[in-house]
């Protein structure tokens, strides 16, 4: 393709990306460095159906003047990034100095909202991603070896978890695992413990969220791998069979090398998706046990008083986190691209 053709071809996409991706990110970064003005508060008498009380309120005239002077608010630099709700540099330093053991240090850190969320987010990402890739791969291999007539039906059912809206899927499971639900009751019977409750235990809640994550995302890996399997070189496969390769050896030495580039792609997308885990936490009402960066943003924005600067800061930290997480995969893709060129 000529450069000028490519330019005109890419221009609409480029403009859309600039408008809908780059500008919002710049705006978020800017918002994370500004906070609302100091509120001018005063004590006044409030009256209502239940009598009168002396309470504080915001003096609107004085505050409006401040706002008109500097509409963006106060510039606070990176101070929101380092406060307790985010990177908590002072608290982490204090915990390090006061540590009596490494375990105690991590316990203190786990009490800070950002690190608690990171703890779950990273565990979820690094456990769910490999599991769902393996599961997706197994389904793809199994479906591929089915009889032609059965394939369509099985593919449809394998895709169901992805078709169901995440929030609905997690809500259905949430009701089933209730201690009075079908699965919850079954587990109590299995464990012979009538007080067993998935929702009351942090470790069981984590396992449940990870199982849900694997269940809902495996179809994506399956579809990609299944598509890859359709281009499998039949010659190589056949010659390996003539050489006496077992089924496992065929998969290990022919199938896996063939679809390896797809593995990179699936890993890239799923790492990114899982790092932003959000719906299952809401669907499972799991915020008492597991939080994520996306949940922190939601929590900041859903309170009656919205914390815009704090939410922006967490958004920027999420973007940085995703970039760090993806860098190895991106680097390897880049190397592959260069070696081909």
């Amino acid at each position: 393709m000529r450069h000028s053709t490519f330019f005109w071809f890419f221009l609409p996409t480029g403009l859309a990306m600039l408008l809908f991706i780059a500008f919002p990110i710049i705006s978020v970064v800017q918002q994370s460095m500004f906070t609302p003005h100091e509120a001018v508060i005063e004590v006044v008498e409030n009256c209502g159906p239940f009598g009168c009380t002396q309470e504080t309120t915001v003096n609107q005239e004085a505050t409006a003047e401040l706002r008109a002077e500097k509409p963006l608010g106060r510039f606070v630099g990176l101070s929101i990034y380092t406060d307790r709700a985010h990177l908590a540099t002072a608290e982490v330093g204090e915990a390090w100095r006061a540590r009596d053991s490494i375990g105690g240090f991590f316990k203190d850190i786990g009490n800070l909202p950002f690190y608690r969320a990171m703890g779950f987010t990273l565990t979820y990402t690094f456990v769910a991603t490999p599991l769902l890739i393996i599961l997706g791969f197994c389904i793809a291999i199994a479906v591929n070896s089915l009889h032609q007539r059965l394939k369509g039906l099985v593919i449809f059912f394998s895709l169901l978890p992805m078709i169901v809206t995440p929030l609905i899927g997690s809500l259905i499971l949430f009701w089933m695992i209730d201690s009075r639900g079908v699965l919850g009751n079954f587990l109590q019977w299995m464990a012979d413990d009538p007080d067993l409750s998935l929702k009351a235990s942090t470790s069981l809640t984590w396992i449940m969220l990870i199982v849900y994550g694997v269940w809902s995302s495996a179809p994506f890996a399956f579809v990609v791998f299944y598509a890859g399997l359709q281009t499998l070189p039949q010659d190589t496969l056949e010659s390996s069979r003539i050489d006496g390769a077992t089924r496992w050896q065929q998969i290990r030495y022919v199938v896996i090398p063939h679809i390896l580039p797809l593995l990179n792609f699936v890993a890239l997308i799923q790492l990114m998706d899982n790092f932003r885990v959000f719906e299952p936490i809401i669907g499972f009402n799991a915020e008492a046990h597991a939080t994520s960066l996306s949940w922190i943003i939601f929590n900041d924005l859903s309170g009656e008083t919205q914390l815009l600067s704090s939410a922006s800061t967490t958004s920027v930290l999420t973007i940085i986190g995703v970039s760090i997480l993806l860098s190895p995969v991106l680097v390897s893709t880049w190397r592959e691209f260069n070696s081909k060129a």
Partner: protein, 409 residues
């Protein structure tokens, strides 16, 4: 003859006042945003009865997420927001609602004085209903263990222990203890019951890490011991479902939900017949009930023309006129409207008001503390940290948010 004359005069008078009230003529647009439950829907459709200009409503449970944005523009999308004590301060913090004194003088002759919400001497909202959390219980179960309805949380614990020991129910106590807003609200109730103060007078400095705070948390944990182990995932809906299913005998529930609690499908007769309402309970030997009083009312937007503000005021006043009370609307809420006769379901809220309960505080930074409580108390409730540590976390989380919002330096 005399009787007949009187009757006719009365009928004529009613007809005149009804037609006067019905003549709701407005000349500019009205657009209302508010929460979604039967009483508010009644108010919304009442305003829509006005003629002369368009009256739109957007009643949704997500009203809190849109009302500020919908009133910040100039002109504002919404000319009125239906709010409660906690949300009026949010709109006032953002300076999007206007004082109503001139409109009250012009069109508000039928409003009672206690309906007017004044802040610093200016009328900022007009209240139409009251709400509070109070005890809801199973009279039949308490009869079995030989106890009256508890008036304090200590008595409630005693009753719960007896019910469990008698093998009637394993987890007889219900509570909306879902991590987040609900859990924080239960803390607020109990903390007020123990006589705690949220802030230093006249300042945004938080003061919950104290004896009353610790006592509050310990009481909440004791109560949780008699609840379904999933209590941190139970909001009012889930708690009500437990009550309807006959798994719970004692719970602190919203008055606005008590009226229709056992009217759902599939509730057994045992639960229906045993269902009873009482006032709120005290805690720790205190005299102030461990609950908060709430009102719901309407505001008028600031960033709209005076004609639109007047039309909005007329339509909203029309919606809460005394004639709107009838058999269908009366049980929907504890109305603050003239001529309201309390129904059976209202006794809990009335008892709360008569026992000198505290209104939910109307300070600009209360919601920041509410959010901090909701996020930081669940570790304590799970037994992962001490009460002191949980309260220290709450204060730290609140301080960060209050600094960001400019309430603390």
């Amino acid at each position: 003859m005399g009787i007949m004359k009187n009757l006719m005069a009365a009928t004529a008078f009613t007809a005149i006042s009804a037609s006067a009230a019905m003549a709701c003529e407005i000349s500019a647009r009205v657009n209302i945003v508010g929460n979604e439950f039967p009483a508010i829907q009644t108010v919304g459709s009442g305003a829509q009865a006005c003629s002369g200009a368009e009256v739109k409503t957007n009643l949704t449970a997500d009203h809190k997420d849109i009302h500020v944005a919908g009133m910040q523009g100039n002109p504002a999308e919404y000319t009125s927001a239906i709010v409660a004590n906690s949300t009026l301060t949010i709109l006032m913090n953002e300076d999007v609602v206007r004082p109503l004194d001139d409109l009250v003088a012009k069109h508000g002759q039928n409003l009672k004085k206690n309906q007017l919400i004044t802040v610093g001497g200016k009328v900022m909202a007009v209240a139409f209903m009251a709400n509070a959390q109070h005890l809801v219980y199973r009279a039949d179960v308490l009869e079995q263990i030989g106890m009256d309805a508890p008036t304090s949380y200590e008595e409630l614990l005693e009753a719960a222990e007896k019910i469990r020991a008698a093998g009637i129910m394993q987890n007889p106590v219900g509570g909306a203890y879902k991590a987040g807003w609900n859990l924080a609200q239960e803390f607020n109730n109990m903390y007020i019951g123990y006589g705690g103060k949220f802030f230093k007078d006249g300042s945004a400095e938080v003061t919950v890490n104290n004896e009353q705070g610790v006592a509050t948390l310990n009481m909440m944990k004791e109560l949780a011991g008699y609840m379904n182990p999933d209590f941190l995932t139970h909001d009012s809906n889930a708690t009500n479902a437990e009550f309807r299913a006959g798994n719970v005998a004692l719970m602190n529930m919203w008055g606005s939900r008590a009226a229709t609690l056992v009217e759902a499908e599939g509730v057994s007769d045992e639960v229906k017949n045993g269902f009873a309402i009482a006032g709120p309970m005290t805690a720790g030997g205190g005299t102030t009930p461990a609950t908060t009083l709430w009102w719901d009312g309407w505001t008028v937007a600031k960033n709209i023309s005076d004609e639109e503000a007047e039309a909005t005021f007329i339509a909203m006043t029309h919606a809460i006129r005394p004639e709107m009370l009838n058999e269908e609307t009366s049980p929907q809420a504890v109305w603050l409207i003239d001529g309201y006769e309390p129904t059976e379901a209202a006794i809990g809220v009335f008892a709360a008001a008569q026992a000198g309960s505290t209104p939910y505080p109307m300070v600009p930074y209360q919601s920041l503390l509410h959010t901090a409580l909701g996020a930081e108390l669940s570790d304590f409730m799970q037994g992962k940290e001490s009460a002191e540590q949980a309260l220290a976390d709450v204060e730290a989380a609140y301080n960060v948010a209050a600094k960001e919002k400019g309430f603390l330096q």
